[in-house]
Every structure is written in structure tokens, then in C-alpha cells.
Symmetry: D2
Subunit: 352 residues, 4 copies
């Protein structure tokens, strides 16, 4: 950590700053420049020290050299974290495909979609029972029953399941029914929820807040890890920028950056990242080329009539299957394995 | 609502879209252009219809003319909402000043600050007992005890109190101790929290998400209003942009915009909006000129040593008092009244 | 300047970095931490040194403590720059009002608007002869003739004039006809244009790029100042953010920030900053409260039929006059003087 | 085009709007809703009509259905534009690699880099003779001599050349020396420059403004196309967002979007898009997976000592060569061909 003083600081004030530093049991190393004084801090300071120094009068800038997160950092844990759930290993050399509808709607719908995800070669069934919606009058998900419908569909077709949890009090029931819990973009900094997730062992897919930096995402992961749950994967799902043609701006550079800074697996979500069906397949491939450990993709048997209105970004089942065939060929170029079932899904061969 | 079709749509598909519209009991009014067909929807459709139509194949764009929120809109409620708490009326012709520390630290600290807020002429004491922090190792607030300390200080000095609540399960206890509940920027779209706030009558200060649009803020307010709590005030506290010199970019235009779109009071938070003490006073005045119904301002007796590190944006008590003297003169130009106690607070006259 | 090395740097490499620094005739002051080494640079280095060091392998970060601009900084020039043109002093205690249409259209139009600007108390007539337009098929301005029309209207009514110049080759002819040259937001980093402006003495109003930082704006000003033209004023005109309700997000905090960092006058442009007539008056007042040295405001006698389509953000002449009456009362609160002519402009009293 | 009126419009005003529309020789098709009236415009209106209507009082919104650019749109020109220069075809099934230093420095430097680009299999040599720099004290390029050095190096090694032109008056001399002219991100809306580029036939690489939308980029291309130069390629080089870890946020979704909206080739620039060497190779591959027609990549023989300070984002020659070997294998998966020379470039085998 480095402290840069303002240019009219008194010697007395410099001594007070040094005293504040040394009270923490770390050393202050002072360089006096022509205008400003620079104080380097040597040793491991408490994270609060930076915050404390930043607000002291006479301090112009405090520069942290060490990262504010530890358990999430690759410095601390050099090897990749691999999350094993049954046969699926997330973060290793498998390419992991999570597919399914935005929302669980009916038992028939989620069952048919599960059949198709499995047929195409996907390993994990996605589907929301609780939906975060901008306005109170939109469809809010079918609730706990949806958890049950999805669990059953997953079991029947041999798929793991992932579903979103929005509030601490629902964590336990969601964790009973699903194999992975998803934290949505608006909840990345819902700290009580993160703390609760640290108390369980269920794997967590933590979506990047739509305006959160890499550092903030890794600090959010740190809440879960520090609580005692090491099974966290990160998810890039697009950020908010000035461009409105796409729903979000998918920041694929996040993938290699997060993999360099952290040991946690990184999943890409081109469905929310683009918000447009005609872009999803291309951006799935680009995600794999950027090094993603997996993809989470919306697929629906009847996207014209999905209950959330997200059909516009859902692939049709045959598109989903064709995409997975392409990914199978592509994966080895990026050190990944992926096997489809080699059975095509002809257009219209499914129950709407 | 207007539906614009893609340019190669079949007549059959147009009929299906019209059928979907008319099933909702509203009328479809069709204009065929050279390339595209435009379908106007006349009558009051359910909010879901737009979402449904948007995802239908053959639909290129759905344009909502009506707003997605109702209770929050000025169309629905033309007169200003005035929230009365004791003698204080927020949203009327009073200029309301909320002052205090980022976090409640000790009984002595909050008591001394309360004394100074009152002395300067402020009406409401702010202070956090629960603090949302980017990383898990930062100071997280003193918790429930902080609520009690602040309630006592407020009572002793004749000030109303406002404090932040972060999770649904703490809403009741916070509402017992504070007169106003604050929802932080990261929780603006914590929908379970918003729903819970709709079930009480305590006034709510809802901060704009740091990357949320006006429309999203008003939809978040709609959750609370729709739940049955009409006592909502909106707060502009800065948005995230590419500029990093300031902590956020304070969007003062939000004030007249929100007052035109909505009847709810609008409060400005220049402390978080700028993140720099030397800018706070100027931006408080600019906020009043932009029409703010009130200000929420950080003030601390010992900002060099605040426990959250937010001291850098806290005014000293004498600055706070001088600011309020200026605001008293300024307020009448903007249709507001504000009375200070006319007692100066000399620098250093307080207990650190 | 401070250099922070990566954490696995060799001693040999550190010596190479030190050698690179000392070759410039400045001192390197080395602090070895547990992981990283921090090298402080003492003395005045060439600006290129930072760029050079940043790219050296083994260097993780280079932190500049000094600003990259000099002549534009308040450290270098502590007193306010006051630009005097005739009776008008920009940057001192006068509040300066620049009003007029987006584009000069006809002699009659610009003459009538000049009459109204003068009548209301404005000092400077604005109007574009060359218009930067997103697409090639939009109205591009009337060109050189527009310069003449405006110069004549200004002279007749005793107003200074300001007009936009878009390319180096037109600087001379624009400077012959207008008292102030405006550089538009898209040209803030048109460096050849900036260099050309440094060779004349005509005052320049330099608009902030719609996605430019304060630092970049001050560096752009530095180009003009370093060329030899000290008469530069800065203009905040709104930045591009995720919010689309307003045309731009007017960043009023830029005003006090730029005035702290620099000695140059700062003008606010709420017309482009909001893009909506119904917000312009409020944001003009807020700009004055934020400390603006002047305002540039679009006003049109027939905004429904302006040739650029910017009528939507133009005030009517009576609104403009009423605004100036309000500003006259407000200005003294912010250390400014402003006198209107005290003659009201009744609605409809002008020639369309 | 659709006009939506405000909700308190008079019948008389509606008639005036209709009259304004019909004066243009197009039809107005009126739908009266409960609150608002919607007027559809049928027929081909002048582009100015939208601008005109938008500013009329009583008009709330004008929605353009047709795009504002024509020649750049795929609707107008369904087949891909293929730009042929010698053996190189940009926009067809070749993957085109442009490599070289940020700036031309000396004849020896550019000659050695040209040799390495050719050896690795690249087709085009990049290098700047005129450099746009944020501040006036940074290295500004070697100027016209640099054009000559690069032309010679290109000729000697059988490479096409691309260089940046910053101002209309230098277009001709740059076009004499280089095969392709590059327009930098800060000049995307330098309209006089765009107009000048329309008067020549030299191929243009038009970089997206760092805060420009797809629509604005295509309108900028339209200026060149409308002037008579059909040889335009678009370039995604990263946009400015809130994330500061990377120099910019590379928006790879721009690639498929621009290819859907337009027939022009799309090039990706991961060097500026990321600003970090360690991310460039991964993002080059992801760009190809996103469908890029080519890449423009910074490579330098001595990045520690590049004159612009951009060495931090330059690949070493051996990294560049290895990347091209990988791209050769990858290209066929995305319908592209690319042949390297199969000769490895061992680390350190070049002249610094």
C-alpha cells in the first residue's frame, strides 16, 4: 500500500500519518519528493487501514498494491478450482453446457426441455422458479412448485439443475431442490444473501453485476468463500454500456482476466449478454474461444409464448443442438472436451 | 403500445399477432407501410402483453407508449406526495436536511453529531447501523445496537432518524427504531426487500441504483407503492460512468425529471454523488437549485478517523453549519423554506 | 511518479528500471516490500518517461502524481484566467450568457434572434454556420454565408458572437467573423484542429468530449495553450451514459472540479446536456449554483421549424428572457453579477 | 416513421402535424388511442422530416423504422463487400492479419518488423507515422518520413501497408504511400475528414469511436460511401465503460451485429481493445470465433522501449507467430482460410 500526501502537508501531519500506520504493526517507508511525500507500507496491514488513511486530511491518494480479496485470488490458490458434481467437473477440461428456459412454467414444459437438453448433450438444466423483474406487474415465477418440477425433470433425464435464489430465506429450500444456485446480476452485492451462501456447500454460480467491476465481482465471491463455501463459479453475463442495440454488452475479455486473477471457473451467458437470439450462437463460440469453462444458454420449446418475455433471446431446440455439435468440434482447440449425443433434433420434433 | 413487424412477415403471421392482441380484449389498428406493418394497440392491455409480443417471431420492435409504472406516475397522482413525520413535511415547501455520519460508531459519537445537526438546523439524523461493503473484511456496522444508539440520540435532540436496511428480515426491527428507512443503491432492485417494505407504513428513502435508469427507479418505487406503502421518497446519489475522478457522477437532471414523471419527493445525496468533501457544499447548493426537496449529507466530528473510511466525503460540523446558513438564503429562490438556528458552530467546538 | 513492479521481478531487472530512470537525470528511490518493489521518482521527468516505464516488462503499474498538463493547471497559474472581449469578461465576476439558435438559417432569423438575446440581457450570440451531423443526409449548415449573417446581426445589436469551427482549414475564416470559436464535443480530440487554434489569439470555447474525462479535457486545452493561445474556456455539455431519457447526462460536478484543477473559465451547456426544453431552465439555474462562469443556451423564434431538428431543446424567447430575470437574482449568491434589460419579452412578440 | 403525440394535443395541432407530413409527398396514417394519437408515415420521406417532426410541439416521440444510413446497410447491398488489394481480399473467405508497431520509429525498426510479419504469415503491415496523443507533450509520430519508411519496408517484404491519417490535408500524401488508410477512434466523427475520404478510392479502415453506437459507426461509414468511395472496412477496437482494468472493453458482439446490419468487412483490434499483452492472443482467437474478417495486432521487436508507450499491448514477434499458427487451425471452423509460412520465429531471433 502506498500513501501519497497532498503537496502542502506539514511535517507534523506526516508524522501523524506514520504513527497511524505503525500502530498497525507494519512499517512506513518514507520518500520525500519535491512536492509530495510518498509513504510505502511494508508488511501485512488490516484491510481497514487503507480506508482509514484515505480519509485522513493531508492524504491525497492511497494506492493498494495487494488485492482486497484473498481466497478468490490465484496468488492464494494457484491451481484451478474444479467443482465436481456427480460426473460433471466445472473448471477442469470439460466444457459444461447449462441449457433451459428462462422460467419454469409447467411440468410438461420443463420435462420436454430437459429431454431436449439431454438429447443435445447438455449436462445441466437451467430454469427459474423465482424471477427478478423490473416491475411488480410482470410474471414473477411459479415459486416453490417450480423448484419441484425442475428437480423432477432433471432427475428423470439425468441432468444436474441450476436455479436462481433471490433472498436469504429461500436459500435452504432452493439448495434442497437444485444442484447449483444462481445469484442474479442485481443480487451480486446483496451481502446478506452472499453471507448466507457461505454457510452451505452447494455450488454457486455468481453472476457479475451489470455495472460491477472485476474487482467487485471477486470481492463478492470472497464473501461466499470467506463464509466457508469454496464452490463458487463466476459468470459474465454482459454489462450496461451506452449501446442499446443489444440488451447488454457481453464483456468476453472478462473471461481471461478473471481466470488470471482467480482460480474460480468462469461461465459465459450469451443469452443475457446479447438479448437477441440471432447473436447467441456466435457469441457462444466466441466465449469458448475466450476460454470459458462453460455456457449458460436459454432454450425454449415455444419461445414465442414464454411467460417471461425472454423468448426473444432463447434458442429453438434444433439451434441449441446444432450449436452443441459445433462446440464439440471447437472445444479441443481450447483445451476442453465436450461430447454430444450425436443425435440430431429435427426442427419441430418437440412438443410445444 | 405499438408493434412494428419485420419486413418479410407473411399475412398469416400478421393475423396471428392481431389474434394475440385481441385475445386480451384490446383493439389492433393496422397500418401497412411499404416494408413493414405497424400495429397500434388501443385500450388498456395487461403489462405482460408487451413482453409476450416482443418475443413473437415476425415482431421487430414493441414500443410502449404508456409507462410500466402507475402508482408512481404523476399522470396517476398529479399532486405532489407530501410525507409528514411530526413537524417535518418532505415533498412540500420545506427544504429537508438529513445529516450525520456514514456509520453509527459509539453512543458518544452519534450523540455529539446529533447535537450538532440540530444546532445547525437539520431536521433528520442519518447514520448506518448495517453497512453494505464491497469486501467481507471491511467494517460492517455495529448492528442492532447502533439502531438503539441512534434512536436515543435522535430523541434526545429532537431529530427524526433515518437508517439503512439491507435485508427483509431486518425491516421490522429497523422500522421500530428509525423514522425513515433507507434502501441503498445496491438494493434498489432487491425485490424481496421492496415487497417487504410495501407491507409497512414507515417512510422509505429509495436510492437510485448506481447504474439504474429513471424508469427502473420508478418501477422499484412501484413495488413499494403497489404493496400498500405510499410513503416513498426517491434519492439521486450519483451514477457510475467512465469518469473516475469523482466517486460517482451526480446526475442532478434526475431531480427535475423525476419530479415531472412522478409525484414523489426527490432527495439529493452529494456526499456519495461526489465522494469528495471539497465538492459537497457546491453540489448541495446546485441540488437545491435543481429543485431537490431535501439533502442527505454526511457530517462527522472526526472524519479522519471514521470507521467506514467514508470520512473523505464527510463535512466537518462547521462546514455543515455554514452550508445550512447559505441554503437558508437560497431556498426561497426555489420555492422552499428552511430555518437555521442562527447559532454558529465554531471550528473545533465539538467533541471528537 | 511511482513505479510498482510485478511480484516476481529479478534484482537485475530492478536495476535496469532504475537505470532507465536515472538516465533521465532524475532520482530513483527504492522501497522493497515483501512481494513488490516500489520505486519513487524524485525530480522533474519528461512526460514520456511514464509511458516508457509502463511498457517495460517487470513493471506492473506506473502512477503519475503530477498532472500531465501544466499550463492548464491551477498549480501553474493560481489566479483565474479572465478573458476580456470588449466589455465582457469571462471568468471573472460577470455571469456570461450566450444565446441563440443551433444553426444560422437566414439573415432575418439570426437578426431577430440577436435582437431578442440583447433585449433579454445576453451578451453573446451563438449560432452554427457549419454543423457536425451524425449522418451525411442531415442539414449541414449554411456555411460561410452563415458566418457573415451572424457577424452582421451581432454588430447590429451590440453582441459578441460565437460559432463552431470543425476543421483546421476553416479556423481563419471563422476567426475573422466571430469573436469566439467553439470546438464541438466530437472534435475535442481533433489534435490538428487544436494545434491550429494554438496559433491564433481568438478565444476558444472547448467543449468536453461526450465521453472524455476531466483529465483529457484539460490535456486538450493544453494543446491550445501550449501553442500560444491563452484564451481558452472549458464547456461541460453532458456526457454519454446508460441513461437515454435525456440526450446526455449533464455532469455539473465538472464545474467545481475543473475550477479546482484549472484556472480557465467554465461554461455550462444545459441545452445539449439535457436535450429537452422542459429541463433547460432548471439546469441553467443549477449550473449557476454549481459555479459556472457562463451559460450557452439554445433559443429559437420558431423551434417547431428549426432546420437542424434541435428545436426540441431550444427555449422560446420569452422563456429565455424570464430565465435571465431569475438568473439576475440568483447570480449574487454565487459571487456573480448579471444585469438584464428589465424589459419583458411577451410571448408571441417576435417575428417567426 | 411513426409519430406519437403528447396526451393533451388538440385536434388542430394534429392537423398541423399531418399537414407537415403530407407536404413532403408522403402519407399520414392516423390511429387515435385513448390518450395519444399515433401517426404512421407511409412512403419515403426525406431524412430531415424526422428531425423536423421531433421538435414540433405536441410531438412526444418520433420513431424511425428505416435506418438513417443506406449505402452501408445490408438491405441495400445484400452481398458482402470484398475489398481486393493485390492478392488480398478483405471481406471474403480470407482471414486478414495486419501486424506491426504502434508507431514507425526508424527504417531499421520498421524493416525488421515487416520481415517478421511476413515470416509469420501476415499480409498487411501496420504502423503510425502520425499519432493522435491525449497530451501535447507525448511523442507525436515521425511524420511524413515515417510514411516513406513504411512504404519501403512493405514493398521490400511483399506486404500491403496501413497507416493512420488524422486530418483532411494529409489524406492525399498518406494515400500515396499506404495501401489502406486508418481512421482512429477519436476521428470517427471528424466529418470533414470523412468527406475527404469519400473523394478517393483508397480502402479505409474506420475505427469505431470509443463511445459510438453501431448506428453512429454505420452513419460515419455512410459519409465515405456517399462521397463515392465504396472501399470501407469497419473496426471494433473497444469501447469506454466503467471497467478500468482493461484499457477499453472489447465489444466482440459488434462483429456479428455489424455483419448483419451491413455488408462491409469487420476487423477486430484486440491490442487497443484490451491494452494488455497477456490478453491479446486470447481475444484474437475470440474475435475470429465471433466472425471477424481480420485482425489488426500490435507487434514490436522491443516493446520495452517503444516510443509511444504502447509496448504494453504489443506482442513479441514469437508470440505473434505462434498466434498465427493457432489461427490457421481455427480459421476453417469459421469459414475462413489462412496460411502461415510454417517457419517458426524463435524467441530472440530478431534485431531489437
Amino acid at each position: 500500500m502506498i500513501v501519497i500526501t497532498s503537496n502542502k502537508i506539514t511535517e507534523e501531519r506526516i508524522q501523524e500519518i506514520i504513527h497511524t500506520i505503525e500502530k498497525q504493526g507494519v512499517q512506513a517507508h518514507v520518500s520525500k519528493g519535491e512536492d509530495r511525500t510518498v509513504i510505502g507500507i511494508i508488511g501485512k496491514a488490516e484491510p481497514q487501514l487503507a480506508e482509514h488513511l484515505r480519509q485522513m486530511s493531508g492524504v491525497e491518494q492511497v494506492i493498494k498494491i495487494s488485492k482486497s480479496y484473498k481466497l478468490a485470488s490465484r496468488d492464494f490458490h494457484p491451481a484451478n478450482t474444479i467443482i465436481k458434481i456427480g460426473d460433471v467437473e466445472i473448471g477442469g477440461d470439460q466444457l459444461v453446457i447449462m441449457g433451459g428456459p428462462c422460467a419454469v412454467e409447467t411440468p410438461a414444459q420443463i420435462n420436454e426441455i430437459a429431454r431436449l437438453v439431454k438429447l443435445a448433450g447438455g449436462q445441466i438444466l437451467r430454469g427459474g422458479a423465482f424471477k427478478p423483474r423490473t416491475g411488480p406487474y410482470s410474471f414473477q415465477g411459479v415459486g416453490v412448485e417450480g423448484l419441484e418440477m425442475m428437480a423432477e425433470a432433471g432427475k428423470k433425464h439425468g441432468l444436474l439443475t441450476i436455479t436462481e435464489v433471490m433472498t436469504p430465506e429461500y436459500v435452504d429450500i432452493c439448495a434442497e431442490h437444485a444442484d447449483i444456485l444462481q445469484i442474479g446480476t442485481r443480487n451480486m452485492q446483496n451481502f446478506d444473501l452472499l453471507r448466507k451462501l457461505g454457510t452451505i456447500q452447494t455450488p454457486i454460480l455468481l453472476k457479475r453485476g451489470f455495472s460491477s467491476t472485476y474487482d467487485e465481482l471477486l470481492n463478492a465471491a470472497e464473501y461466499i468463500l470467506a463464509g466457508g463455501n469454496p464452490n463458487v463459479m463466476l459468470c459474465e453475463r454482459g454489462i450496461r454500456t451506452f449501446e442499446t442495440y443489444t440488451r447488454n454488452t457481453l464483456d468476453l475479455t472478462a473471461i481471461p482476466v478473471l481466470q488470471q486473477l482467480s482460480h474460480l471457473p468462469v461461465i459465459s451467458d450469451p443469452s443475457h449478454g446479447t438479448g437477441r437470439r440471432e447473436l447467441v450462437e456466435t457469441m457462444c463460440k466466441a466465449s469458448v474461444a475466450a476460454g470459458a469453462n462453460g455456457l449458460i444458454v436459454e432454450m425454449h420449446t415455444d419461445p414465442d409464448n414464454s411467460m417471461t418475455g425472454d423468448g426473444v433471446q432463447s434458442l429453438f431446440p434444433d439451434q441449441f443442438a446444432n450449436l452443441l455439435v459445433d462446440l464439440e468440434k471447437l472445444a479441443p482447440h481450447f483445451g476442453k472436451k465436450f461430447d454430444t449425443k450425436k443425435e440430431p433434433i429435427p426442427a419441430g420434433s418437440w412438443i410445444k
